[in-house]
Symmetry: C2
Subunit: 339 residues, 2 copies
DNA sequence: TTGAAAGCGCTAACAT
DNA sequence: ATGTTAGCGCTTTCAA
């Protein structure tokens, strides 16, 4: 059962393939009777235009890509129940989806392996591509961004030929730390986070900014933790119990903050009575936790939407030079800081 | 800036385009030195294979489609806060994504307009397609399913040339109703749901089955409600208050059950003390509501995974005849039934 | 082991 | 208004 092509439709309608193409893409360019004949023939044959062929001929696919390496969370039993809530990447993805559809683009999603293979594969099939920070080797991105517009999500601005959307990490944590100090009288603060991440570095700097502004002693570096390791949170807590709890624990992400709170609770300490704990991101789980999590909310869906806008605008005017975008954040005061 | 093609790579490596193709796709068929020359040339030029051209030549895209018409929830202010939790479609989509990636397929997601245009467009670019029930006109699906394997998610089995994955709607509600009757002594039950939906019809029948088995009077038809209308829930509650509350309100979906509970609470009635309310689906919001929602859990991610499996198996052996699949459900007893 | 060449199904000049 | 035709960039026989 060979599927019908323009040729079949053309033959049946007694016209040329060009007319078939026009009947679909530029209906106004063909006489109404002719158009109806073509459309009828197409319907009778069950014609479905081959998008691949069209993409090749037009050299555009009307499709944007998102490399959504989900950190393979689903596979990681440690994290299974986090999946009950949408995480950062999920919410960004949702924004990306909706913005694509509003603009008439389809969305191609890739994931799985984190070597360059999958992402290159996707790059070869889309008009523009968005990727999350730290998920693809830079050489691979460099090559791809020479071919199509690329935007990196939550990646530092850099002169790498790619566009970047990020949020005001530093300002957010500065404001939050400021709150801890002025509203709750915190003096001894620690900052917990993955030291390798640029975002985390910025957040740490924001914490230091606020502390310095108050002439308080600032930690020299973040207390290291892996992205979402509960076990490490427990070890950290053991350490603090041994040497005395700080006034506040500023965490680089909500997930880490929740893990720290769990570990503290398990060790018999109360949050925020014994120690304040804060996060960053604004995921749903933090809204529902006990105590609810004071945090800095990122506009996650807006990050996804912005990525689409940036890609589309470069597609529409290719001469435009790549521009980065930084989105504002919002301090959300809940209970874990003592409020 | 023309992007490099096989021709450019071939020229630079001093070989033919066939050799370039082989070097990438069948490395074992070309002499190692030749292969290295080709790969080096490719790297130097920043070659990214054009997936569209490949798809056309191979007549397969290694890409599966999901038409994820999200009921435009995001646009509907009435529903804004539901979006904080993953809904049915989101969880199915997640299962679909992961299963695609595990099998080396990319995923093309379409949405937005619900006319046939978008879905036909996607159908023209993928090897297989999954759609949710009631989101695409049947004629359109009929045409598409003649071209590529299609599976409808949560759609009744039918001799329409498409495959279907669904769950045991009838059995699930039968068991749940049975519980209401035997464990909580419910006698007067109403069933609330969208009457047009096939799934809802099945669920209603399950309710009737259980009632009949106990020689209890069964409602003649579902009490109608739109998919996710809070306002209607309030009207229903007003009606019940006027004519006397039933013992139990069996709702066709969790979202409707939560809306009904909200309306009852707003009207000063207590659940489950004054009346039991149950749902169907097993969404996260029902786990966290007050009272927590007794429901029938669908294996949502599993639906998505199954859809992928069914598509891939038909792609792998095209002669296999289309087969449907029904997944089991699980009654989840929480507080809203009185447990 | 490598090369030549014929498509894959469509679009878009250009010609009529 | 419609037809002819040359690609789009790749895969894949078939020959050498």
């Amino acid at each position: 059962m060979k599927t019908p092509t323009v040729y079949d439709v053309a033959q049946r309608a007694g016209v040329s393939i060009a007319t078939v193409s026009f009947a679909f893409r530029r209906p106004e360019k063909v006489r109404p009777e002719t158009r109806d004949r073509v459309l009828d023939a197409a319907r009778e044959l069950g014609y479905v235009p081959n998008g691949t062929a069209r993409g090749l001929a037009q050299r555009r696919t009307q499709c944007l890509g998102l490399y959504a390496y989900h950190y393979l969370l689903a596979e990681h039993p440690d994290n299974a129940d986090w999946r009950a809530f949408p995480l950062y990447v999920d919410e960004v993805q949702r924004g990306f989806e909706l913005a694509c559809w509003e603009r008439g683009y389809a969305l191609m999603l890739g994931g799985g392996a984190s070597d360059g293979g999958v992402v290159t594969d996707i790059a070869g099939r889309v008009d523009g591509l968005a990727v999350f920070a730290q998920t693809v080797p830079p050489e691979v991105m460099a090559t791809i961004s020479q071919r199509i517009p690329v935007v990196e999500i939550s990646e530092p601005t850099g002169a790498d030929g790619m566009a970047h959307v990020s949020v005001d990490n530093r300002g957010g944590v500065r404001d939050l730390t400021e709150h801890l100090v002025t509203a709750h009288g915190a003096r001894r603060l620690v900052f917990v986070g993955e030291p390798e991440s640029h975002d985390v570095g910025e957040r740490f700097r924001g914490c230091v900014d606020a502390l310095r502004a108050h002439k308080l002693r600032a930690p020299r570096a973040p207390v290291g933790i892996r992205a979402e390791a509960r076990v490490e949170a427990e070890q950290l807590v053991q350490g603090w119990l041994a040497e005395g709890l700080p006034d506040a624990i500023v965490c680089a992400t909500d997930q880490q903050a929740l893990a720290v709170i769990d570990a503290l609770t398990a060790a018999g300490r109360r949050v925020p009575e014994d120690v304040a704990v804060t996060g960053f991101d604004g995921i749903v789980a933090g809204r529902l936790s006990e105590p609810s999590l004071t945090t800095v909310r990122q506009p996650m869906a807006e990050l996804g939407r912005s990525a689409v806008e940036m890609l589309v605008s470069r597609l529409d005017s290719p001469r435009r030079k790549v521009a980065d975008r930084q989105l504002p954040v919002e301090v959300v005061l809940r209970h874990s800081c003592g409020c």
